[in-house]
Amino acid sequence: MHEMSLVQNIIDIVAQEMERHGVEQLRAINLAVGRMSAVVPEQMTLCYEILTSNTPLAGTVLNIRLVPITYQCLDCEKEFPSEGIASQCPFCRSENLEMIFGRELKIESIEVMD
């Protein structure tokens, strides 16, 4: 439900980066979204289309890379992927876990015309 405000943030950040790098024409924004973040990717792309229509960014693309959930065991230090919430390390059975990937909500790069 809060995708609209997130997309507005994305547009603001990209505008700053375009100015910083002297970019005139943007092609795409590459966004990383963790599977555990409370975001619906389809809504993000729809909001992006709506917010950029009739602006210089119209027609540019918001690419979303979904980041799978990865845990690290704080005891044996091994990393393992998970479909959802994990409660036990598959290697050493420890319950001392930390989610190291899956909560991302970040702009990774922008693609621009030469």
């Binding site: 809060h2 994305i10 590459n30 973040s37 919430i85 970040k106 790069s109 693609e111 015309m113």
Partner: protein, 223 residues
Amino acid sequence: MVNIPVVRNVLEVNDRIAEQNREIFDRYRLLVINLMSSPGAGKTSLLEKTIERLKDRIRIGVIEGDIQCSFDAERIAQKGVQVLQINTEGACHLDGNMIREALPRMDLSALDLLVVENVGNLVCPAEFKVGEDMKVMMLSVTEGDDKPLKYPLMFQESRALIINKVDLLPYVDCKVENVRKAVAQLNKDMVIFEVSCRTGQGLEAWTDWLEKQVQGKKGGPLS
């Protein structure tokens, strides 16, 4: 075509504003709680009962976040504490900037505890910091014991969970034991209180704990 690396957090502006709010709160040694739940879980009732129990010992203020109307703020005002209503006009959560704009309209020097009652929603508010010391969430037993695993983010982000309406347990299928099991999986440090705002059951444990948190911030070092 050229690819320019950026690597910036989408929520960086909000995080920064929340951090600035937090610095202001710290200066007043004021404990700030971001209270979240689904609509109807009992946030405003909990605040009414909490204020009744603590207002002789702690100076409490409330910021009410609602999409529309000021019913909740009127209920809190009846209790004789500082209260401010924010209407988000459709937005599903409060954010750092809404709180920042509200602060000049409150007398923070006259408070020990500020509770920000977020918009009723189990998803979005968890992503947006407002400058709080801690998030506290409520779950009412009528919502069902599957909610922690269905909405894990908020349970992971919160310091404490208040399970409300336990007087209704005989009439619903929710098992507190199942909620506790799921929470242990998501956030094993979460402090859990079982209460009924209607009967008063369990409220003392909650208000005792809350008072300790307020005192901790009062006496704690400035961060």
